[in-house]
């Protein structure tokens, strides 16, 4: 996973450090920066990210993109793992309903992650920290907007404290 966590698109230098590094007060300019893990489907949302890049749109470097074959490929365990290892927010992005490369993947994802979002809410996570969005490959501007919006929301919320595994925070 670490290779995929390198991030893509926007300028990645300086502001946000590696996994868990967002927490160490000494990194970068000293201010806390949120870490957002975005699982993007290969066919729509990741391509949307590419378009944002080639269109020279900027979005916050707090977002680390992980490319997955389909939004329904994401296992809830991946989401939990991200929170355990220091993510302050997790985003799953896929094709708009009806546009799935595999016909029905995102329909399944919609049901699964609607329910999973509710479950995380019941267990005490702030609902803003786990989001699902549909971004098509032609929506580079929307990709940048969603990332911007999510980063601002998480910044306002502050660092995530739920399910963080302290063993991972030592790694900077």
């Amino acid at each position: 996973m670490s290779e995929a966590l390198k991030g893509k698109g926007a300028d990645n230098g300086g502001t946000a450090a590696g996994v868990g590094g967002s927490r160490s007060s000494g990194s970068g300019n000293g201010a806390w920066q949120p870490l957002i893990v975005a699982f993007c489907c290969n066919w729509c949302s990741y391509a949307g990210g590419d378009l944002a890049g080639t269109s020279r749109l900027s979005y916050p470097a707090n977002v680390r993109v992980i490319r997955v074959t389909c939004s329904s490929r994401v296992n809830p365990l991946h989401v939990m793992r991200a929170f355990q290892r220091g993510a302050d927010g997790v985003l799953i992005a896929g094709c708009h309903p009806g546009d799935c490369h595999y016909t029905s993947g995102n329909y399944h994802a919609r049901r699964r992650f609607s329910i999973f979002a509710r479950l995380l809410e019941h267990a005490g996570l702030e609902p803003e920290r786990f989001q699902v969005r549909w971004i098509s490959s032609s929506e580079g501007d929307r990709f940048a907007e969603v990332m911007q919006e999510m980063t601002e929301t998480i910044k306002a919320l502050g660092p995530n404290e739920r399910w963080v595994d302290p063993r991972w925070l030592k790694i900077t």
Partner: protein, 328 residues
């Protein structure tokens, strides 16, 4: 309730007579039932292969164990298995059938309408410590305490899973051994108690669940008894990738329970075995029921284990489905 015409001893005798015949004639090679456990307030599973074994069979107010969970394993060695099923065991049977864990033709189901099982913890709170202190008379319990005799309705002492049960009569059986009872809970109103227990803020919910789940010993009894847990290799013990460590820590406990509940989403029959089996008394059923309530809200009424032909909500979709997140 109609079954009060028979007292428990008579009912046990009737069940024993029916199954003895089938076991001796070779129609079944094993009967799954209940026998008394170490304590008077516990009835544990009975695996009867002979008439002698059947003498230990009981049908009392503590036969809460869901027997269907034992079927897949027993069917791997036995030809044809007979099983006593209450409402929840029957729904668990449907659950396993739907997960293709069972061969319907090799199971003989004896239906037992269930009056609800008693919770020892509640009895102990009322001062009952020994079997002699408690007498069941129809819908009432006669309790002997130091001060004298007290009559309390039986429903005061039911296990939570039985208080909330909307299908005490088995939904599937080959033979019904006792007269059917009356429904206790309307399926449509089965989540009403959850609204009363709503915790409004994330901080409150997290405080509540982290408080409960930090008592978790990682014994995985909740998974072991669950008729919806059917993975051959559980993520909790998977080595590659390794999701959980060996130590007990709050974050890993919560991860385990969140994923365990999620794996049962839309498949959980709300039998509450997880909660009953929990050695440290974590109210595990609540999370599963909250999820079942959300599924009903979003994707329409669904009760798992009622109809083996109806697809579980998370294994199907409709293009016009709503989402719990903004779609535009």
């Amino acid at each position: 309730m109609a079954q009060d015409n028979l007292n428990r001893d008579q009912a046990t005798a009737r069940i024993r007579a029916a199954v003895t015949q089938d076991l001796l004639s070779g129609r079944i090679s094993l009967l799954l039932g209940w026998q008394k456990g170490l304590f008077w307030w516990r009835s544990r599973p009975l695996f009867a292969r002979s008439q002698q074994d059947l003498e230990r069979l009981v049908w009392d107010s503590f036969c809460a164990v869901n027997l269907s969970r034992y079927l897949p394993e027993e069917l791997s060695i036995e030809e044809r298995v007979g099983i006593l099923v209450k409402g929840c065991d029957a729904r668990a049977f449907h659950r396993l059938l739907q997960d293709r864990m069972l061969d319907r033709e090799r199971v003989l189901l004896y239906g037992l309408p269930c009056p609800g099982m008693l919770d020892y913890r509640l009895l102990a709170e009322a001062g009952v410590k020994e079997a002699e202190q408690m007498l069941e008379e129809g819908e009432e319990l006669v309790i002997q305490t130091g001060g004298g005799e007290e009559r309390r309705p039986r429903t005061d002492f039911l296990l939570e899973k039985c208080r909330l049960c909307s299908h005490p009569d088995p939904v599937v059986y080959d033979q019904l051994l006792l007269p059917p009872g009356e429904p206790r809970m309307d399926p449509a109103s089965r989540f009403q108690d959850l609204e009363a227990r709503e915790r409004p803020t994330p901080a409150e919910r997290y405080a509540y669940w982290s408080g409960e789940l930090q008592r978790c010993l990682s014994c995985y009894a909740c998974r072991q008894v669950c008729p919806a847990c059917s993975c051959r290799e559980c993520f909790a013990e998977q080595q590659e990738p390794r999701w959980l460590g060996k130590g007990a820590g709050l974050n890993e406990n919560m991860l385990f329970h969140i994923i365990r509940v999620y794996h049962g989403a839309g498949r959980c029959i709300e039998c509450g075995e997880c909660q009953r089996a929990c050695p440290v008394g974590i109210p595990l059923l609540e999370l599963s029921r909250r999820l079942a309530k959300d599924i009903e809200e979003l994707y329409g009424p669904y009760e798992a284990g009622m109809d083996p032909e109806a697809p579980p909500p998370l294994l199907t979709y409709r293009p016009e489905d709503p989402a719990a997140f903004p779609e535009k």
